[in-house]
């Protein structure tokens, strides 16, 4: 296989479950994990005569998304019925949006090893989820759980603009971070709140037309997304190089065997007989509503990243890390708010350095960090005002991480203050000079390296608590002045 001769084309369709209290067209709860069929009302069961009524909160979340990706929010969009028979689809059709979706266009910025890239979105539309078929739990029968039926989803579709699994994963991660950042989706991939379908095709480098694509359904982790795409790329290239042809089809990824398998071909594809749902008038979104939603939007990650670089002078790397997730951003904002007088770069260094390392070591999420922003702020304030040295600060952080406590109290109880008292330092230094006359002579004879020896000895004598700046100044004066 000669991968270099082939260009990979990937488009993603992502289903993000919207974080509403109730379903998209009924008042039933959407809470996860309830007993089967206890969260399905007459509308979700598709009983005769009952009617869907759109959930305002689901539409509001679609608007938030549209604003966050700079999309056109359609003033009028249309709910359509997608007709097919399946036991976990109670009405025999899914209410979705087809010709006129609520969110049109927009884009997302992603970071890969090669740098930054913009991925354009085609659309995002509102739809209801189906129920769940349980084939394993019953002998010779299938169970149906309709708790999930009618759960609000936003299906977010990209243009076929990604060229590697790395880009696809970077996009999926960026989208995942964004939907959580704007709080429209909890992003819980195990529970299926965020799942991707990948459309993958390959074409010889330089060819304009797309190759035949396959759609890999329901990838519910970034690792599966990457592995499924990698497998699929390899499969398609090998197939073509061996003289075969890719057949347009839907495939499923089997994580146990690390491969994709054919689910149904284009020939078996349903004719969904889409048409506008006559039970639902066109969805109208006024300018006022959009403005109202916009006024409640948090600062978006990209805007914040720019601000961190331009106003706070952070590096692109630091700004990127601090805006990669809502949690990192909020931690940093809270830290900045509490750490009065501390330099932004110092704060960023600590969040991306010590804190991040400690979290990784402990295998925790930022939300569970054992040192909260207020605690860390206490530490950084003392570091900035010179009460403690950088070295001591790291030790103090370790203590706070493992034992808890506030910086000031720990500095006090453990005597971690820097010695900035000139008199005390002078005493220590004079003693050292008296003890090492040879080194004093060497220094005075021009061997400046010896200065470091005295600093080391002084730090040792003060258990690292000497204020480095004062120490340097004082030592120099004493050595030269004799």
């Amino acid at each position: 296989m000669t991968r270099a001769n082939w260009e990979v084309v990937i488009g993603l369709e992502t289903h993000a479950q919207l974080s509403t209290q109730s379903k998209i067209f009924s008042g039933a709860s959407v809470a996860f994990g309830a007993e089967p069929n206890t969260q399905a009302c007459a509308v979700d069961l598709g009983l005769p005569g009952v009617l869907p009524v759109p959930n305002h909160a689901a539409v509001e979340r679609a608007i938030r998304f549209g604003l966050a990706v700079g999309a056109h929010i359609a003033p009028v969009s249309i709910f359509a019925r997608k007709n097919y028979f399946y036991p976990d689809l109670p009405k025999g059709y899914q209410i979705s949006q087809m010709e006129i979706p609520v969110v049109q266009g927009g884009s997302l910025r992603i970071q890969t090893k090669a740098g930054e890239k913009i991925v354009n979105l085609t659309r995002a539309h509102l739809e209801e989820d189906a129920g769940k078929s349980l084939h394993e739990d019953f002998q010779g029968q299938s169970g149906i759980d309709l708790n999930r039926a009618g759960t609000p989803l936003l299906e977010i579709v990209t243009e076929p603009e990604m060229r590697s699994s790395e880009e696809a994963v970077a996009y999926a991660r960026a989208l995942h971070a964004l939907v959580r950042w704007i709080e429209i989706c909890d992003g819980n991939m195990q529970e299926g709140s965020f799942r991707c379908d990948a459309n993958v095709s390959v074409r010889p480098v330089g060819q304009k037309e797309f190759g035949t694509r396959c759609e890999i359904k329901n990838l519910n982790s970034f690792r599966f997304l990457e592995r499924a795409i990698e497998f699929e790329i390899k499969r398609q290239i090998e197939l073509i190089e061996e003289g075969g042809q890719v057949v347009q089809e839907t495939r499923l990824f089997d994580p146990d065997r690390d491969e994709t398998r054919s689910m149904r071909s284009k020939e078996d594809a349903h004719d969904y007989r889409y048409f506008p749902d006559p039970d639902l008038p066109p969805l109208c979104i006024s300018e006022e509503w959009i403005a109202e939603v916009a006024s409640g939007m948090p600062e978006l990650p990209e805007a914040r990243r720019q601000r961190y670089m331009n106003e706070l002078g952070l590096t692109e790397y630091d700004a990127g890390l601090l805006t990669a997730t809502r949690e990192a951003g909020e931690y940093f904002e809270a830290l900045r708010g509490a750490a009065k007088g501390a330099d932004a770069k110092l704060c960023a260094n600590w969040v991306n350095g010590e804190l991040s390392a400690a979290i990784n070591r402990a295998g925790l999420e930022l939300a569970d960090a054992k040192v909260n922003p207020t605690q860390l702020a206490g530490l950084l304030v003392r570091l900035t005002d010179g009460t403690i040295s950088g070295k001591i600060a790291k030790e103090l952080f370790e203590i706070m991480w493992s034992e808890g406590g506030e910086a000031d109290a720990l500095i006090e109880s453990r005597g971690l203050q820097q010695i900035s008292d000139t008199g005390a330092l002078e005493g220590v230094l004079k003693e050292l000079i008296a003890k090492h006359p040879e080194q004093v002579e060497e220094y005075r004879g021009g061997k400046e390296k010896v200065f470091g020896f005295f600093v080391g000895q002084a730090m040792k004598a003060t258990q690292g608590k000497a204020n480095p700046a004062q120490l340097n100044a004082l030592l120099k004066a004493l050595l030269l002045g004799g």
Partner: protein, 493 residues
Amino acid sequence: MNLSDLLNQGVTALSAALGRREVSAVEIATAYLDRIEQAQPELNAFITVDREHTLRDALTADSMRAASPTQSLAGIPIAQKDVFCAKGWRTTAGSHMLENFIAPYDSAVVQQLNKQGFVTLGRANMDEFAMGSSNENSYFGPVKNPWDLGRVPGGSSGGSAAAVAAGLAPAATGTDTGGSIRQPAAWCGISGIKPTYGRVSRFGMIAYASSLDQAGMFARSAQDLAILMDVISGHDPRDATSVDRKDSPCAKELDKDIRGLRVGIPKQWFGEGLSAGVKVVVESAIQELVMMGCECVEIDLPMSEQAIPAYYVIAPAEASSNLSRFDGVRFGHRAAQYKDLAELYERSRGEGFGPEVKRRILMGSYVLSHGYYDAYYLQAQRVRRLIANDFERAFTLCDVIAGPVAPTTAFPLGSFGADPVQMYLADLYTIPVNLAGLPALSIPAGFDAGMPVGLQLIGPWWQEARLLQTAHAFQTTTDWHTKRPALYSGLKP
């Protein structure tokens, strides 16, 4: 007034008698139930009668009246078309599919009526899933026309219309998707109204074609219709297509003078296709309106002849999707034997649905199919828009439109068994109204060879009150609406 005369009166008279304590709701209900029992074997107007349930409701109504004298409608009996879900009543929609279905909720219409203390007499027969113009498509057998038992009552609300005409109920609910209230009202010689689309909540009403279905009423007079309309109208947050309006009650506007009213006569509706006998009656009725001080203007509805083809694309398309939920999985008929999922669907639906329903599901699935959608469904939607435009233009020239309801009177049972299309074509004067979403009613206008003929009045959107004023004025100077079929004059009491 003795009880028998009272039963032949309408809602207004019953309400007055109940108010004066001359009679109780239980007595009235019992008397109607006795009549239903006598008439049911040959008329077959009801699918379900539950004497105990009805008498329980009547007792409740009597205590409502005792507790609150302002409950002027408590105790009025009503027949419910078997398409409105009601707690404690099975709702079949005239189908084997729902032969044993009992909904856990009340439809909005039933709920509104119950709130006022109306007493359900039973569940009226209908064409299966409201698909038909003769009531011959009911799984529970055809309804007969009380004026001639060899003829159909019209459909799809045939049971409702026959029950009111035969004096088995003073009023009945109905639904009208392409004429299913107006045509049986005309053929049974009673008054029936189909409101503006969105006026009455569709919640709990088993859907045939959602964008056309509208609930309405049958009664013996326009005055009664006005009272009933005021009960069932209004916005319902459970139906996204119901409209929030603050129109004044129809009953209040009833006596307004109609002199000077401009009555539009569609020039396309009196030519070929309209039977001579019906034409004479409808023209005389219009003449009557002129004598009452109305002014006639000819109007042009050029697109209305495209209404039937457009309707038979749109309605089956919606129906094919609406009826997908009847799959044998959660409720309704399930085949006894099946080897896999596909067979469960095929057999349950194959056994559960009748031939007309299957025909419309097939047509609807076809017109929505990939490659046909644009040519059929989208084209039909364009035609629909043009038909509405025709009406909009017409209503700049006139205040109401008057014309026939159907081209003939009720036809003999079995006339169109082999040729459904011929029956479809008979809905040419009612279907355009549904496509445009307009309010319209049918009132008795005379007879042709002993069978009743209806006059259709169509109003601009939301002008039910104007229609009812016109109809009421007509009924104050004519007595067609008081004629009763001789066959049912001997019911006891």
